[in-house]
């Protein structure tokens, strides 16, 4: 009668596992305690049925085990018993459904006083928009999205004061209801913060919504919960629930659409002056110098250079004790007087003529080609870099530098800092390179890609990084 024992042990074991399991709901940080309550009610009801049916099953298997001297009872049906069981089940189901629907009623109706935040999803990161002082969002359409207008803003007076947050980090005030308006620039995504319980898909071409009231101060992780391609698992962000004043201060420090549009073009001449400090290591033409571990800079896009310089300045890169050369770079980045200087010097470097780099490592480029398929999703099939995915150009960069950075990402030395979300992403992605050989192979393949703008343009007419 092994079966009897197994059914009993599995039934009670399952219940015990449920009770003792260390894998539980994350600590609740929103008003949706009602969702948890409904879930717990469901657990009780289904748990009771689970135990009752299975223990009865075990009893039946034991009591009516085979006996050659006995015959089965002949009873085609019992209307009374069946009616009772149907009735009881229906009552149980109704008892589960009714509270569920009541909670759903409040889920679909955001409170009048909720403030609104637009969440924009894109392969594979998040950005946010606040309506600004007028409390109204300006019109947007995916058709208008370009590298310079990443939100697809249409010329709309209501949009001039919209606050644009182009980073996956979001702040929310505690205890104030918030309605998330969700849209996507490309494929489907899903804005999920486990601690908030509520979540919803985001689609291109329409706006979906849900609402919560954050109830607990703290930092929570945003993950994408709808398969959105190769880097789905690396599409992360953070939401920090803060006091109202902190939130207002943060919000005020974010640029509005009008401010961004009115921004002065960078001053390359000023940039050239600042670049004087870089020449010693990176060279006058930004050609780099392997002897002092300085990578080539020419050919890199201004937005990437600017971001990295800012990371160095903020201590988000070059602060890890194992990142020797990053530590060397940091003081130079902090020497730049202000953000404008960073923009200027980045703009200057971006215009430098490209120089050839030498191959210093050996790897199996054919094997690397297969590995590079994953990288191509963000960095482009020619390694040209894609601003929309925040992925810098790889082709033409020195191989020793690429290999070292991949190694640093793999060990979490680079990219782990919370202010470096795209570095974070790189840590996740680089896990597919399981050893040093894989790194050398993929770098060897990158070295076969067109190394300068001219060859790139020839290899990829019309495409590339404009």
């Amino acid at each position: 009668m092994v079966m009897v024992l197994v059914v009993i042990v599995l039934t009670l074991g399952s219940v015990l596992f449920y009770v003792l399991s260390p894998w539980n709901l994350t600590p609740l940080a929103s008003n949706w305690g009602a969702i948890d309550t409904t879930m717990h009610t469901t657990a009780w009801v289904t748990g009771a049925v689970f135990v009752a049916v299975n223990l009865f099953l075990a009893y039946v298997i034991f009591r009516y085990r085979f006996n050659r001297h006995r015959r089965s009872h002949y009873e085609p049906e019992s209307k009374k018993l069946e009616a009772w069981l149907t009735g009881l089940t229906a009552v149980g189901i109704a008892a589960l459904l009714a509270p569920g629907l009541v909670v759903w009623g409040s889920f679909v109706s955001p409170p009048e006083d909720a403030h609104e935040v637009e969440v924009v999803g894109q392969q594979w990161h998040w950005s946010y928009r606040f309506p600004g002082e007028d409390g109204r969002f300006g019109a947007v359409h995916n058709r208008y999205i370009t590298d310079d207008n990443p939100f697809g803003m249409i010329d709309d007076p209501a949009g001039q004061d919209d606050i644009l947050v182009e980073s996956p980090r979001l702040l929310l005030p505690v205890d104030r209801p918030v309605k998330f308006l969700l849209r996507s620039k490309d494929v489907l995504h899903n804005f999920k913060v486990a601690n908030f319980r509520a979540k919803m898909d985001m689609l291109p071409g329409q706006v979906s919504y849900f609402w919560i009231t954050p109830t607990r101060l703290g930092e929570y992780e945003i993950v994408c919960a709808q398969l959105c391609g190769i880097a789905h698992f690396a599409m992360r962000g953070t939401v920090e629930v803060v006091e109202e004043e902190v939130f207002e201060e943060w919000l005020a420090s974010q640029p509005t659409y009008a401010e961004l549009a009115a921004r002065e073009p960078p001053d390359r001449e000023a940039g050239q002056e600042h670049y004087a400090a870089c020449v010693a290591c990176h060279g006058a033409q930004g050609e780099g110098n392997p002897a002092v571990n300085a990578p080539r800079l020419s050919g890199l896009a201004d937005w990437y250079l600017e971001r990295q310089l800012m990371l160095f300045r903020e201590g988000a890169r070059g602060t890890h004790e194992a990142d020797t050369y990053g530590q060397q770079m940091r003081p130079f980045a902090t020497m730049l007087p202000d953000r404008a200087a960073v923009t200027d010097v980045a703009a200057y470097i971006a215009e430098l003529p490209e120089t050839e780099v030498e191959t210093t490592l050996s790897g199996d480029a054919r094997r690397g080609e297969r590995l590079y398929r994953t990288c191509a999703s963000c960095h482009g099939s020619q390694g040209q870099g894609i601003k929309a995915t925040n992925a810098p150009r790889l082709a033409g960069m020195p191989d020793w530098y690429l290999a070292r950075q991949l190694e640093l990402f793999r060990e979490g030395v680079r990219g782990r800092h919370e202010r470096d979300p795209y570095g974070n992403q790189m840590i996740d992605m680089v896990q597919m390179l399981v050893n040093e050989k894989a790194i050398h192979d993929v770098v060897a393949y990158i070295m076969t890609l067109p190394r300068s703008e001219q060859t790139l343009a020839a290899a990829n007419p019309g495409g590339g990084e404009e």
Binding site: M3, F17, Y18, S21, P22, W23, N24, L25, M39, T42, T46, V53, V60, I61, Y64, N67, R71, S72, H73, Y74, P76, E77, S78, L85, T89, I93, L96, G100, L101, Q123, N142, I145, L182, S184, K185, V187, L188, N190, K192, N195, R197, A198, D201, L203, P204, G205, E221, L227, G229, I230, H232, F233, R370, R373, T374, I386, K387, I427, Q431, M432
Partner: protein, 604 residues
């Protein structure tokens, strides 16, 4: 209990049927390859489905290796992981389970259990298999085209299914579309056949309410499939147009890796509605045949009539109808108008009532029975336990509020594997152990069968039960790796490793099953025509395995329902469906007269 004497089995008088001009194939090719015999076609379907199923099983092991031991296998990159996810799901649901239950068991059992010589349209039936085989080959080919197979997830949601950033957007997805269309065309030929055969070719006396539940399950599943697959067909076709012709059915204005895609005005949600209008009934297309088969296994091996036969039939019909109005419960967090949630949560929970009734009736069939712990019975009980678990977790996901935090987590993965993967597969195994003797004339080895059962049953539970808890903890599905996700406890990795080891063990155990299939074909104990002392017509054939034409000279006539086990007073503990009342021997020495009640006959 003595075997029933041949004389007690009735046949329609010769001459009433002048259908004996069946042309029997003479050549090897005609008999086994281009065969129009439903039984051979069934086995062709079965072998093909199991072969492609093994591919999907291997893919699942690759996934488990990555999840259990991330960063270890150079072979598995994020793209190929998604390809495994996609192909595993699509193969298991459509190319294995649907094909095996309907094409495999449907073909074998419908003519035999209904008392027909063959399917209504044998040629079409053959064509159906060849379409299926071509569909499978096209699907397999998609692994080998540049870029590899699609990695869009088995739901193939646009825009990602045909947009850069997803693996296999060139050849892979194209071949997937073509393969699905060929499959659906092939299935339509087979499906029409099954329906016409059940409705038109039943033996005399085989009223609908005397049909074994196996046939009811397969029949209703086929009706559903014929209504549901067209939705998938048009969805796939429209996406193909979006991809190749530049239409915008499902594609709104959007970017593809930073560039404008050129599409305008389409709706990704429209695809999801079409897909799940197919996808939800698909769950029951797999489940209903399993429900039917398990009912017959339970009754036969517990020597007891199925409890509440009429209720069981109506439950199948009600489930089939309701399953067409619950589809959007897959879309509670899809961004559709959330007010739909009220309607679809309600219909979804209503469908739990007939489903629960089926579970009660299975257990009540065992109640006061005389349970023979045969291998098919083990699998049937394993099914009940697994299905109860998977059914109850469905109440979490169907209740829209509770679904919100659990959607797209491992809770969903655990749930649907319990309810529509492990449960039906346990029935498939049980059914093979049950009907193998009829197909080959030999019994499968009992000891190997028991080992196979215990490892498969306990192992699957060890894989999928803990998954629900990862879902509670909010672990998202379809993730290549979790890295250092703040809210996911590190111990989750240990749990993942445990599940992976269990999965590898379960997968390897299937080798034992395949070995048993081959070994027993040559060395198995001879079974005789009716080793389980079952009542249904396939066990009463003149030859075992049945020859072309199934029933020899004359077709059987049916006098009773399929569940006359342990009829009070009757000497023999089972009365075959084709045993006339006057042939029944009674313990008081009488013969004939008092009839065994079937639900038809007890009706006033």
């Amino acid at each position: 209990m003595a075997e029933p004497g041949r004389e007690s089995v009735s046949y329609a008088p010769a001459g009433e049927f002048d259908d004996m001009e069946l042309s029997h194939p003479k050549t090897f090719l005609g008999k086994y390859i281009w065969s129009q015999d439903a039984k051979v076609i069934a086995i062709q379907y079965g072998i093909t489905a199991m072969a492609i199923g093994v591919v999907a099983l291997v893919l699942s092991i690759l996934m488990r290796l990555q999840l259990g031991f991330p960063g270890t296998f150079a072979l598995i990159d994020p793209g190929s992981y998604l390809q495994y996810v996609t192909m595993h799901g699509m193969i298991m649901v459509v190319y294995l389970l649907t094909a095996l239950f309907l094409g495999g068991f449907g073909n074998y059992l419908i003519p035999l259990m209904c008392g027909a010589r063959d399917m209504a349209f044998p040629y079409l039936n053959m064509l159906s298999y060849w379409f299926y085989l071509v569909a499978v080959l096209i699907l397999v080919a998609s692994f080998f085209v540049p870029g590899g197979a699609s990695g869009a997830g088995w739901t193939l949601y646009p825009p990602q299914a045909i947009s850069p950033g997803t693996p296999g957007i060139d050849g892979g997805i194209l071949l997937m579309f073509i393969s699905l269309m060929v499959f659906i065309a092939g299935f339509t030929m087979g499906g029409l056949n099954y329906i016409v055969t059940v409705l038109q070719a039943r033996a005399r006396g085989m009223t609908l309410m005397r049909m074994p539940l196996t046939i009811w399950g397969i029949f209703m599943a086929t009706v559903m499939a014929l209504l549901a697959f067209p939705a998938l067909l048009v969805a796939v076709l429209m996406m193909l147009f979006d991809m190749l012709l530049g239409t915008s059915f499902f594609m709104p204005a959007m970017l593809t890796l930073g560039e404008q895609s050129g599409h305008e005005g389409g709706s990704p949600l429209l695809y999801q509605h079409l897909f799940w209008f197919f996808g939800h009934p698909e769950v029951y297309i797999v489940a209903l045949p399993a429900f039917g088969i398990v009912s017959d296994i339970l009754a036969t091996h517990a020597r007891k009539n199925i409890f509440g036969y009429r209720m069981m039939v109506w439950a199948i019909i009600i489930i089939a109808v309701l399953s067409f109005v619950v589809w959007a419960h897959h879309m509670f967090v899809s961004g559709m108008n959330p007010y739909f949630g009220f309607l679809f949560a309600t219909t979804t929970l209503i469908i739990a009532v007939p489903t629960a009734i089926k579970v009660y009736n299975w257990v009540l069939t065992l109640w006061r029975g005389n349970i023979r712990m045969t291998v098919p019975m083990l699998f049937a009980i394993g099914f009940i336990f697994t299905f109860v678990n998977g059914g109850l977790s469905g109440l979490y996901l169907g209740n829209v509020t509770v679904d919100v935090p659990l959607a797209d987590t491992y809770f969903v993965v655990g749930h649907f594997h319990m309810v529509m993967a492990v449960a039906p597969v346990l029935v498939v195994f049980g059914a093979i152990y049950h009907w193998y003797p009829k197909m080959t004339g030999r019994m499968l080895n009992d000891t190997l069968g028991k080992i196979h059962f215990w490892i498969t049953f306990l192992g699957s539970y060890a894989i999928f039960y803990p998954m629900h808890f990862l879902g509670f903890a909010g672990v998202p599905r379809r993730y290549y790796a979790y890295g250092e996700t703040g809210y996911i406890a590190e111990s989750a990795q240990a749990l993942n490793a445990f599940m992976s080891v269990a999965a590898i063990i379960v997968a390897l155990t299937q080798l034992l099953f395949f070995f048993n299939l081959v070994w027993s074909y040559y060395r198995g104990r001879e079974s005789g025509p009716n080793p389980w002392q079952a009542t249904t017509l396939e066990w009463q054939t003149e030859h075992t395995p049945p020859r072309h034409g199934n029933f020899g000279e004359t077709l059987p006539v049916v006098y009773r329902w399929a569940y006359d086990f342990s009829v009070p007073g009757a000497k023999q503990d089972y009365l075959p469906q084709n045993m006339p009342p006057e042939a029944v021997e009674y313990e008081d020495g009488g013969r004939g007269g008092g009839s065994a009640a079937s639900p038809d006959e007890v009706r006033p």
